[in-house]
Symmetry: C2
């Protein structure tokens, strides 16, 4: 398949490497800035451009990985007169319909993962969620995605938005909990490394237990003694104190509900 990548951020970079590794032909990359366009162009060994005017015709697939807010403005320039090609974006929170009216063949290829420049990821373990304007193109995307990942699913636009939102909690907000943890340890003169076994076990546990069932800690037991001490210890970090209080309340309410559910099922 002849493919053009529009965007050269973390996702476009990882995707480009994975596509090349799968034997696909990346024809060209576009990015708004010369720095990132040339970086990805060199990395993949393909021509690059910073002008959508100079985007090649003749690709089978145009993959747009740009900021959500930017894409709608770029679509007319990307699609232009290339009505025979297939156009996809890679965003969790943009609907399929963003292409409607401009393109005739379009879809979404959403790899759900956290990409940082500093870390390689094994693309084959990343779930990819697909949607397309026709069954034929859905099948086409499926056969491409199957070369990239072991976990390929179909998801409509509203499911994909739920996935993205759920991923914000499970990944971005989880990482923020790690950040607070790391800063508290630093203040106490302790290395973050001591927390890694617990972080790993917390992630491993939800492979075999539902998160609600895996919950432990003072909030679950509603141990007001410990909660009170922790809130006092957080006095110099009002934002974290507020967060502690709020999450603890939520955990406690959820666990009460869980007990009630159990009671009702007897």
């Amino acid at each position: 398949m002849k493919i053009i990548l529009i965007g050269a951020g973390n996702l476009a970079t990882r995707l480009g490497i994975a596509l090349k590794g799968a034997g696909e032909e990346v024809m060209q990359v576009y990015s708004r800035t010369e720095e990132s366009a040339s970086r990805l162009g060199h990395l993949l060994g393909v021509p690059w451009t910073i002008s959508l005017e100079q985007l090649y015709d003749g690709a089978d697939l145009y993959i747009a990985s740009v900021k959500d807010a930017a894409l709608p403005h770029l679509i007319p320039q990307i699609v232009r007169k290339r009505e025979e090609a297939l156009f996809v974006h890679t965003a969790g929170s943009l609907p399929l319909s963003v292409w409607a009216g401009s393109a005739t063949r379009y879809g979404v290829l959403y790899p759900m993962q956290t990409f940082s420049k500093e870390r390689e990821v094994d693309f084959s373990s990343i779930p990819i969620f697909l949607e397309a304007s026709s069954t034929k193109d859905l099948n086409l995307l499926h056969s491409l995605a199957d070369k990239l990942s072991r976990s390929v699913y179909e998801a409509n636009s509203s499911q994909r938005q739920a996935l993205h939102l759920a991923a914000v909690f499970a990944c971005n907000f989880t990482n923020y909990m790690y950040t607070v943890s790391e800063q508290l340890l630093t203040e106490a003169g302790l290395p973050f490394e001591v927390m890694l076994p617990l972080i790993d076990e917390t992630a491993a546990k939800v492979h075999i237990l539902k998160p609600e069932k895996a919950q432990t800690g003072p909030a679950m037991r509603y141990d007001e003694n410990v909660i009170g001490k922790h809130l006092t210890a957080l006095a110099t970090h009002p934002a974290w104190q507020q967060l502690y209080e709020q999450i603890s309340k939520n955990i406690h309410h959820d666990q009460l509900r869980l007990k009630e559910d159990k009671g009702n099922s007897l």
Copy 2:
């Protein structure tokens, strides 16, 4: 070493199994309820009691793993006239000094992990934090802990409280983020399994990057477009909506600070 376990919860159970596996002699277990006392007694093949009056004399070490609020009331009955023995508790948030005035030899052995009945843990990977009233007893606890775990540290009471608080964020609150994620997926008709690769990668990333550097997502980019959509999607869950808003603000502020720090270091 002759050891008596006071408490039969998740931590006491895992610790008892690990102590037995390390060749230590568990003499007796105590729990407030017959159900849990007999369960752990049978599991370890040792006598059990529900009365502190019937606690054996002659152990080298008494390990108390009970609720933080309960321990201070139990201490006089645990220590009684056993002045030659060593007494430790296993709590993150209780100071060493909780024993002072009652015992003459005392300490803390705090294994930092999340224990659930439904899941076995490899005790050897769990960090254990030690504190004791004398160097001699600290060394004694160190040699015992070294048999149980590869990661044994010393930590004073204020460091241990910071560890416990940091663990609440990295484990308990992280697990709550998983819970919200799971419930959002369920509402969209999607299985939680699709989130596991992202959860694993999020945990794996902070082994090589500081959490602040590993941060990704709409809050970090301050993508108001996506944040707005997510807040709308959470309208039926006001508690989660409030949490989303608050954590996103914190992430954004932290990232701004990070950029400023970088700027200042030029």
